[in-house]
């Protein structure tokens, strides 16, 4: 049994950041990772020519200071996502070009305007560190975001367009989320000095989809792991955490490791499955049962060139009704070739398509691409999918969403220190919750907490 100061469970961005910040402070930390790779919900897909494209979390933007600082330290550069040219809005198969972040749906614009203004105003009343203390938390946690949208805006435009965003952001829809959770989520689209706004979350230019990492987002985890060296142990799924007087023993199969403290940096649904001794506080067990992952698949098609650029298009499209995907982006590497399109198949679209034959789904996705960019999109050289729900060590994506009743009843227990057990993960950040930046923030915070304890 090896013995350390701190054991970090999970080598995603949160866990690796926590371990690295601890090691920088002279703490003896090890990271136990179930997979044979690091990076958690970030994953680089390797192209034939040696370049990579992102198959998991990928976008970054302004106010995401922590991940940008970390990237700077690690020498990972960023580049602007392609915004040259026009986006396309496809509704019931009919396409229309536009600029900016709001689709040109004249019927829906008033509803979207009302929803945006009111959601921003309400979210400003939600304390990011403790959303359950908002003065109207009880009321806002009694209903779904969809109920609120339907009662507050005319028609179905606001629900439909918000659902396009949530298809990728939640892997779900407005009915899956408590209004309070959604308002909190918006409030986290910022940092200590810039309060969150819906626009910053959904936006490309000046928004959360503004930039990408050169070499793919997994590069951050790969470089952190390289610096941590043999402190990172792959293929070591943790199945038990036993707290004893003075120590904590972490078990993986027949191996055990002991430490003064543990950082659990795996998603809520996986944390709940560890065998805890003593058992987790019942309220903590309760909250882990109540943060299911969304359902999300990324579908990517590779073409010799980004042919849409010569048509004045930026490769972004938004689909309302009648499409297999909810939104798409130009995922071409910074070299400009090959051309890559990435479609989010999440939430309701995932439910429609995930159980169908792969060939049929591919066809539907490519027809969606073609409805926005023309028939050349139907003939990629390669096509691949990444279904995050089928990843044994993630079980969904991109983040965990709280239904009504959960935040007010259990929120205060999520991430609460339990003896020698500390918590990290994208779901635990008061800024950019559920995003890569949130993962980094949570990792830095837990390292600070642990070092502060000593």
């Amino acid at each position: 049994m090896s013995d350390h100061d701190v054991i970090v469970i999970g080598a995603g961005l949160a866990g690796l950041t926590a371990a690295w910040r601890l090691v920088q402070e002279g703490v003896d930390a090890v990271v136990l990772e179930a997979r044979d790779r690091v990076g958690g919900r970030t994953l680089n897909h390797h192209l034939d020519d040696g370049q990579v494209v992102e198959a998991g979390g990928q976008f970054i933007g302004p106010t995401q200071d922590r991940i940008l600082r970390l990237a700077g330290e690690l020498g990972v550069e960023t580049f602007l996502a392609n915004t040259v040219g026009e986006s396309v809005y496809v509704r019931n198969g009919r396409s229309r070009r536009y600029r900016g972040d709001i689709p040109p749906d004249l019927g829906a614009l008033p509803a979207i305007g009302i929803a945006t203004t009111r959601l921003n105003r309400m979210s400003a009343q939600v304390p990011v560190h403790a959303p359950w203390t908002a003065s109207r938390a009880g009321k806002w946690d009694s209903m779904t975001l969809e109920s609120w949208l339907r009662s507050s805006t005319p028609g179905s435009g606001a629900v439909d367009l918000i659902n396009i965003f949530l298809g990728s952001a939640f892997g779900g829809a407005a009915r899956d989320s408590s209004l309070l959770f959604a308002l909190w989520y918006i409030a986290t689209f910022g940092n200590e000095t810039h309060p969150g706004t819906l626009e910053r979350g959904i936006g490309v230019a000046r928004g959360a989809q503004e930039s990408r990492f050169v070499g793919g987002s997994q590069e951050l985890s790969l470089r952190l792991a390289a610096r941590l060296g043999d402190r990172v142990r792959l293929s070591t799924p943790v199945d038990s955490v036993r707290q004893q007087t003075g120590r904590v023993i972490v078990g993986s199969g027949t191996d055990t490791v002991s430490a003064d403290a543990v950082v659990v940096a795996v998603p809520p649904v996986l944390a709940s499955r560890i065998d805890w001794e003593p058992g987790l506080p019942v309220q903590q067990q309760g909250v882990l049962q109540r943060l299911p992952f969304g359902a999300l698949m990324k579908c990517e098609a590779i073409y010799p060139e980004p042919f849409w650029r010569e048509d004045g298009l930026n490769g972004s499209a938004t689909f309302r009704n009648g499409s297999a995907i909810c939104s798409m982006f130009d995922n071409t590497p910074p070299s400009g070739s090959p051309g890559i399109l990435m479609g989010f198949l999440g939430g309701p679209n995932w439910h429609t398509w995930s159980a169908r034959p792969a060939r049929e789904r591919r066809g539907a996705v490519l027809r969606s691409f073609a409805s926005a960019l023309g028939t050349r999109a139907l003939r990629p050289t390669t096509y691949f999918e990444q279904d995050w729900t089928s990843e044994q060590w993630t079980l969904g994506g991109p983040t965990s969403v709280a239904a009504p009743g959960v935040t007010t009843a259990y929120g205060g227990w999520h991430g609460k220190r339990f003896g020698r057990v500390h918590w990290a993960g994208a779901e635990l950040s008061p800024y950019w919750n559920g995003f890569m930046d949130g993962a980094v923030r949570s990792g830095e915070q837990v390292a600070k907490d642990i070092v502060g304890d000593n």
Copy 2:
């Protein structure tokens, strides 16, 4: 490695019923149970004089034919819950006597009348075998039951009184449930010939709280286990299910058992934690992540005699606001002595009280009892609590509740056969879902399915 026709995982009412019906058909079945006891969510608490009182599920009533038939076969008798005398309604500490199932809250009566009529009418449109096919399923699954109650009834009376019922029925509140799930739940308060009604679910006389089992509800499981003999293996928590060509291998620690088929008869949240190979279909993994247990504790006080009976009271009380418990019942054994009061501390009440010191909670519960029955209730000879959330092999109670969006997106996958894996449990019954009768029904159904396959 022992080898059988069928392995049943879980020796609760569903699993034991399934095994027993299979054995009756000549099938070689074994039951693997994690606990050192059988009965799952039913549990007899032993009194000093050798009698028992129920610490888990306990009530039965009309149309619960399957559990009544099983009890008859096993020689377990029933007796009427005490309905002699008046019930008490306590609001903000002030008590008032009443008869029947509807508390005498004059301000809330119109709202309750409207809610009952409309909920019954809507639930009649929900097919019990496939609630997601209801013609208005999409709309009803977009909102919480609370949202619907607030938009459909005046004041807060309907929400408050429905929440008293759901505190024990869901271990939750109207905001935790999808309207569609709640309508389906009501639709299941019946059988093949008597459609479900809200009144039958909440009622004592002619309702689901009408009767109890002599010797306690766990007696059914104890007698089933006695008949199954060494086919039931206790203290055998299952951690893996591996399907191979022609066989399925179930692992518990280093032991393995093989069979032609497996019946998983543990609650959804526990089923999701088994190590599956091949992995569960992603949709099935998704639904198991989305059926969290409610939060419920039973608090029982024992007195020399049921003193309230001489005051013309039946020991039942309903509490609106300002009480630690939501409802209470006379839990005296059929012999008539000692006198026992049982209070449900569930949902919002559980959140308020579960983390407080046991002594303080006991005081609050006894003050609730006393507010209904007088100060003699403050001085029991014994007091005990059963918190179902702290049971490692249950993790909550009394049943699993679906939030908005879950039933329409995932409902069709819940309980769907997966190769050699079949499913049973109270959560899988189209009648009395979540009740003991539902558990028995699901066990009988799965046995029938398996025998029919051969």
